[in-house]
C-alpha cells in the first residue's frame, strides 16, 4: 500500500508545485510506514527528469508513455490514475492543486470512493484518525477536516510544502493503462499557450500591476522589473477586463490565486477581492501613490510614490544583484 503522487509536466519540465507534492507525498508515506510512487503521464518529458523525481522523495516513478496524454484530457487522466491507484494498492493519492488536478480528483473521489481534501496546507495529523488542514473562504480562514474513508485524496496548496533535493534518482517503470475512445470523447481542437514564460501559478516571485498604471502602453516598467527579478507578471481584475493584459494574469478572488515568496503590487488599491488571491504570499511589497491605499495594511514593505519613478530604480537595483 504505497502513496501515489500525480506529477504534472509543463514545457517539458516537472512543475514546481508537483515537486512539492512529491516531497509531501514522501513525508505522508513515511507517516504511513510506506513509500511514495510518482506517476507521470505523456511523452513530453525526458527520461532523466523522470528519474530525478527520486531526489525529491519518490521511491519509484511510473511513466505512462502515451502521447495522447500530452494534453490534460480529464476523463482519460481519471482512467489512468484510477487504474494506477488500484494496481499499486495505494490508499492515498497526492496531487498539487491546479485547474487540471481539481477536475481529475473530483471524478476520482467518486470512482475510488475516496475522501477528498483540496487546498491542503499542512501534513496530515494521524493521531486518532486522519485529519488535514485546508485553506477556505478564499484564503481568509483555515478548516480542519477528517478524511474517514479508507481511500483518500489530498490536493496540496501551492507553497504549502518545501521539497528538498536530497535523495538519489529513482527507478522508472512503464505503466500501461487501458484506455478507450470514450475517454477521449472531449476533443481538444486547439491550444493557445505561451511557452518559455514563467507560469504565474508556479512562480516564486510575482510582479503585478493595477489600474494605477493607466494603460497597457505603460506596462514596460512592470515587465522590466519582472525580468530583472526573474518573476512572473500578474494584474488586477480591471486590467484584464480592459484587455490591457491577458485574462490568465488576473489575480484574486475571481482569478488566479498565487502563493509566491514575493508579491509586488504596483498601482493596485488592495480591494478585498484582490487580496483574497494573494494573502498566502510569504512577503508582500506595495507601491502606491496613495498612502491610504488599503493594500498597505496587508503589506510587509511599502513605498508611497509614483510607480513610474520608483520602478526604474528597483529594476536597476535588482539588475545589480545578479
Amino acid at each position: 500500500m504505497s502513496v501515489l503522487v500525480f506529477v504534472e509536466v509543463a514545457d517539458g519540465e516537472v512543475k514546481g508545485s508537483s515537486l512539492e507534492a512529491v516531497g509531501y507525498g514522501a513525508e505522508v508515506a513515511k507517516q504511513q510506514g510506506t513509500t511514495a510512487t510518482a506517476i507521470v503521464l505523456g511523452t513530453s518529458i525526458a527520461a532523466d527528469k523522470l528519474a530525478a523525481l527520486g531526489k525529491y522523495g519518490a521511491a519509484k516513478v511510473l511513466h505512462v508513455a502515451d502521447e495522447k496524454l500530452n494534453n490534460g484530457v480529464i476523463q482519460a487522466y481519471v482512467q489512468v490514475l484510477a487504474q494506477a491507484f488500484e494496481q499499486t494498492g495505494a490508499k492515498i493519492l497526492i496531487v498539487a492543486k491546479s485547474s487540471l488536478s481539481d477536475a481529475v480528483t473530483a471524478r476520482l473521489s467518486v470512482r475510488l470512493k475516496a475522501s477528498l481534501a483540496s487546498n491542503v496546507t499542512d501534513l496530515p495529523s494521524t493521531n486518532g484518525g486522519f485529519t488535514v488542514k485546508k485553506s477556505v473562504f478564499t484564503g481568509k480562514a483555515f478548516q480542519t477536516i477528517s478524511l474517514a474513508n479508507e481511500n483518500k485524496i489530498i490536493a496540496l496548496k501551492k507553497s504549502a510544502f518545501s521539497p528538498v533535493d536530497s535523495g538519489s534518482p529513482a527507478p522508472v517503470e512503464t505503466f500501461s493503462a487501458s484506455l478507450s475512445d470514450a475517454d477521449f470523447g472531449v476533443k481538444i481542437t486547439k491550444t493557445d499557450k505561451i511557452t518559455g514564460e514563467l507560469l504565474l501559478t508556479e512562480a516564486d516571485l510575482v510582479v503585478s500591476g493595477g489600474r494605477g498604471l493607466k494603460g497597457p502602453e505603460n506596462w514596460g516598467v512592470i515587465l522590466d522589473l519582472a525580468k530583472a527579478l526573474n518573476a512572473a507578471t500578474g494584474c488586477s481584475k480591471p486590467v484584464s477586463d480592459l484587455d490591457w493584459r491577458p485574462h490568465h494574469e488576473h489575480v484574486g478572488q475571481t482569478g488566479v490565486k498565487v502563493a509566491p515568496n514575493l508579491y509586488v503590487a504596483v498601482g493596485i488599491s488592495g480591494a478585498i477581492q484582490h487580496l483574497a488571491g494573494v494573502s498566502s504570499s510569504k512577503c508582500i511589497v506595495v507601491i502606491n501613490k496613495d498612502p491610504e491605499a488599503p493594500f498597505f495594511k496587508a503589506a510587509d514593505y511599502g513605498i508611497v510614490g509614483d510607480a513610474f519613478e520608483i520602478l526604474p530604480k528597483l529594476t536597476a537595483a535588482a539588475q545589480k544583484l545578479k
Binding site: A103, S109, A141, F142, G185, T189, K193, L205, A299, D300
Partner: protein, 245 residues
Amino acid sequence: MKILVCITHVPDTTSKINFVEGNSKLDTTNMQFIIGPYDDYALARGVELRDALGGTLTVLNVGTAETEPTLRKALAIGADDAIRIDAEPTDAFFVSEQIAEVAKKHNYDLILMGRESSDYNGGQVHGMVGEMLGIPSLSPVMKLDIEGSTAKMAREIEGGKEYLEANLPLVLGVQEPIAEWKIPNMKGIMTARKKPLEVIQPANPTQYTQPQQYELPAAKGACKMIAPEEAEKLIELLKTEAKVL
C-alpha cells in the same frame, strides 16, 4: 434545451470572516449573502443560451431555508423555476449526490456551475456530478457556444487557453468572461415571486469528509515603509531581511 444551473449562497466577497461556537461555525451576524461569483457567470450564460435556443432553465441550491432569497434572485435574473434541496451543504460529495439525484430525474442537456465556490473553494462539485452521471465534466470553461448537440468551449489552462468540442450532455464549471453578470430588473423581481420553487428532501446522505474546526490566519505584522527617494534599499531588504530574493 434543458439547462440546470447550480448556485451557492455565500458570504459577500467583502465580508470579514469570523467563527463562533468554539470555532465550529461561521459567524453570520450582519453578513450579506450573494450568489457565488462564479455561479453568477453560470447563471448569466444559462439565461443567454435559454433565450437564444429556447427551452427551460432551472436553478438549484443545496441549502437550508435561508438560501431562498438567493434562489429568488436567480429567478429574478431569468431562471424559470428553482429547486432547493433542504440540507446543510456540509461536504462536496454529499452536495454532488443530491444534485446528481435530481439530474437523473430530469435529463438536463447542460449543467452549469461555477468553477469553484467562494466558501469552500473546492472546485469539486462539477467533476463529482459528472462522474456520478457518467458524462464529461470540464472546468474552468471561459467560453461556451452550443451548435446543435455540440458544445464548443474554451477552457483556461495555465498560461493560456484550450479550445474544446464535446457532445451534450455535459457538466461545466465556468468563469469569466463567459458572460456579463446580469442584474435583475423590476419586472424580473415581480415575476420571480410567482415562479415555482420546489423544496425537496435530501436522498441517501453520505459524506466523504467530516468538518471539524476553523481557524483564522495569524495577524500580519506592521508594514515597513521605505522612503521613495531610497527605493533601491527595498531590493537589499528583500534579499537580506525578508530573504525572498
